[in-house]
């Protein structure tokens, strides 16, 4: 044992001497960047949690694979207490960045973050960093993609009735739905948009029945947000009614009827955070994903043949929003 320690010390001394002799520009292999995420639903929910998971996979690919960027996650953390315990555990284990992906985790984070001043935390969707130097906040301007989806839906609707299935009238969902309504109204004010908040993020059965209700009320285009909409998308496909997605790309679930999805590309924000952390800033800043910075992308379903003029309209709407010529009036 003693010999081994001697040997190790010797090697270390050599290493230091040698590295000191080397050209100063030689990059020291960067330490692996480690991220942990806590998410309310499953990583394959085709919605909010999946958008973060997919983004982390893309960041990992861009940063050079698992050797340079490692991430771990806890999914299905709908109990806030459990999530808080997981956040604390990850911080204790020395992760560089701990992401609390759900606005319900905010107050837990506010308590935990001061105990780990060396660790960077991020939470969303919100703009509030609680004034703490090691908390980042992030959110999505979901009304922008909502607006584009609304414009598209309005051009496709023959019955002049469009249905929306929402979870709870707050936050990201409300922004998206208000943006969608604005897009429809700007394109064709005669179209009636029926909105249904079902009061739950998980009740697939009620979401599905809400879609059926919209269809009975004459809707020929539907949209909706949060993870319980999979039930509604299924109904849309059965009834051959168009679907406009958000959060993740939902085309795989109903290839016949999904026209386009607003997809959150959180990696744009994550990369900014990571470079800030690497340069020593651990928080205190809030980020917004939008169409202009590429944090939101309108992804068309290749399985659905989109008329050329609709595609042009969508592109010009995206351009109008990013350049500021289109102003989305929210209530």
């Amino acid at each position: 044992m003693k010999k081994f320690v001697c040997f190790l010390t010797l090697m270390l001394a050599f290493a230091i001497v040698l590295s000191a002799c080397g050209a100063p520009a030689t990059p020291v292999p960067a330490e692996k960047f480690r991220v942990a995420v806590v998410m309310p639903s499953a990583i394959n929910d085709l919605a909010f949690s999946q958008s973060m998971y997919d983004a982390l996979v893309r960041v990992q690919k861009d940063m050079g694979g698992p050797d340079a960027f490692e991430f771990v996650y806890s999914e299905g953390m709908f109990v806030v207490d459990d999530a808080a315990a997981a956040i604390r555990d990850y911080a204790t284990q020395g992760y560089d960045l701990v992401i609390a992906h759900g606005s319900q985790y905010g107050s837990s984070l506010q308590e935990i973050a001061p105990d780990f001043p060396e660790t960077s935390f991020a939470w969303g969707t919100t703009v509030d960093t609680f004034g703490q130097p090691n908390i980042f906040a992030y959110e999505a301007a979901s009304q922008e993609g909502g607006y584009v989806n609304g414009v598209l839906a309005a051009t496709f609707s023959n019955s002049k009735v469009i249905g929306v299935v929402g979870p709870i009238e707050t936050g990201d969902a409300k922004l998206y739905i208000d943006g969608f309504k604005a897009g429809v109204a700007a394109t064709n004010p005669d179209i009636q948009v029926n909105v249904n908040y079902i009061g739950s993020f998980s009740d697939v059965a009620l979401a599905s029945e809400a879609a059926t209700t919209h269809i009975s009320a004459g809707a020929d285009a539907l949209t909706g947000t949060a993870q319980m909409v999979v039930g509604a998308i299924g109904k849309a496909e059965e009834s051959d009614v168009l679907w406009f997605g958000t959060q993740s790309n939902q085309a795989s679930l109903a290839p016949k009827v999904v026209v386009a999805s607003q997809v959150y590309h959180w990696e744009v924000i994550l990369k900014e955070m990571i470079s800030l952390i690497q340069s020593g800033t651990l928080g205190g800043k809030s980020f917004k994903a939008n169409l202009a910075n590429g944090g939101e992308v309108i992804e068309f379903n290749p399985g659905y043949t989109l008329p050329a003029e609709a595609k042009t309209l969508a592109d010009s709407t995206v351009k109008g929003i990013t350049e500021g010529s289109i102003n989305i009036a929210l209530p």
Partner: protein, 310 residues
């Protein structure tokens, strides 16, 4: 705006939705009625439903055979029931706590299997609507009652069958006596253990079908925790229905109809805050419960483990 609610489209829509929404509650709550009438409270219904929903979905996706899916859901539900029966009847475990344990097991296990075997949310072609010749052509009535899928019809057929078994057969008499006075039943040669095993396994089987009715008949998708509390509402409906199949039917229909009414209220743009609309089914169900069934008595031996006195 309120007058919009009285149009034919809306009324038919509300009733047809209500009938569909009540389906999983009926299977689960009738099953629970059997086990509670024999003196066992099974709070694991939600977990049994989730595993049943997954089993049915997985089998339907991989084999394309929907009936095989239902069979698998029944089998998985029965297996969960068997485990529950062993824990509560043989080991005399506290029923509420062990039920919660089985719920959590079902929740976690169905999610794990989903992640490992499927990995992503997908759809399946579920049971189609069956249009009963002649009857389904009646305007309104046809759409409400005679244009549903086979598992919906099954749920409503189950009500008279359950009533008949509980009230008109020797088996039903045994179940009720075991739930009221297991000592007396035992002294007359009725095996309390065997009867309770039977009812708990039957309850599990029906909960399995309840799950299948969601995943391969009504919604045709599977998602983590897709029942989101339905199983617990089913347990509440048994109390609401005063441990009688017909009462359970009334409760399930009332709750589901008000739920579909609130969906329409929002769709029609009637000026009610969505939070209040969503609350309606729960509030009204509680009000009816308070007003009507305060005099009904639960099975006397409910939640009490049976131990033979020497």
């Amino acid at each position: 705006m309120i007058s919009d609610l009285l149009s034919v489209t809306v009324l038919v829509g509300i009733l047809a939705s209500g009938i569909r929404l009540a389906t999983p509650y009926l299977y689960a709550a009738i099953g629970e009625t059997f086990s509670q009438r024999s003196g066992v409270l099974n709070l694991g219904v939600e977990g049994q439903m989730l595993l049943g929903a997954f089993a049915a979905f997985y089998v339907a996706v991989t084999t394309g055979n929907l009936w095989l899916g239902v069979l698998m859901a029944m089998f998985v539900g029965a297996l969960m029931g068997l485990a529950m029966a062993y824990v509560t009847v043989n080991l005399h475990a506290e029923q509420g706590i062990s039920g919660i344990g089985f719920y959590l097991f079902g929740l976690g296990m169905s999610d794990l299997l989903f992640q490992k075997l499927l990995g992503t949310v997908e759809t399946v072609r579920g049971f189609p609507e069956i249009y009963i010749p002649g009857l389904s052509d009646i305007p309104g009535i046809g759409e409400i009652f005679f244009s549903q899928n086979v598992l919906v019809y099954g749920a409503y057929l189950l009500v008279p069958i359950a009533w008949f078994i509980l009230n008109k057969t020797t088996l039903g008499l045994k179940i009720r006596s075991v739930g009221e006075n297991p000592d007396a039943a035992d002294s007359l040669g009725v095996s309390v253990t065997r009867v309770r095993y039977f009812t708990i396994i039957l309850g599990g089987t029906l909960s399995g079908i309840a799950g299948a009715s969601l995943s391969i008949a009504l919604l045709n998708v599977f998602q983590q925790n897709m029942t989101s509390g339905l199983g617990f509402i089913a347990v509440a409906l048994v109390y609401f229905g005063a441990w009688r199949p017909v009462g359970v039917l009334g409760g399930a229909l009332l709750f589901s109809m008000i739920n579909s009414l609130q969906l329409w209220i929002q769709v029609l743009g009637i000026n009610v805050k969505s939070e209040f609309a969503v609350m309606m089914p729960y509030v009204l169900t509680i009000l009816v419960l308070v007003a009507t069934v305060s005099r009904v008595r639960a099975p006397a031996a409910l939640t009490k483990p049976f131990e033979r006195e020497n």
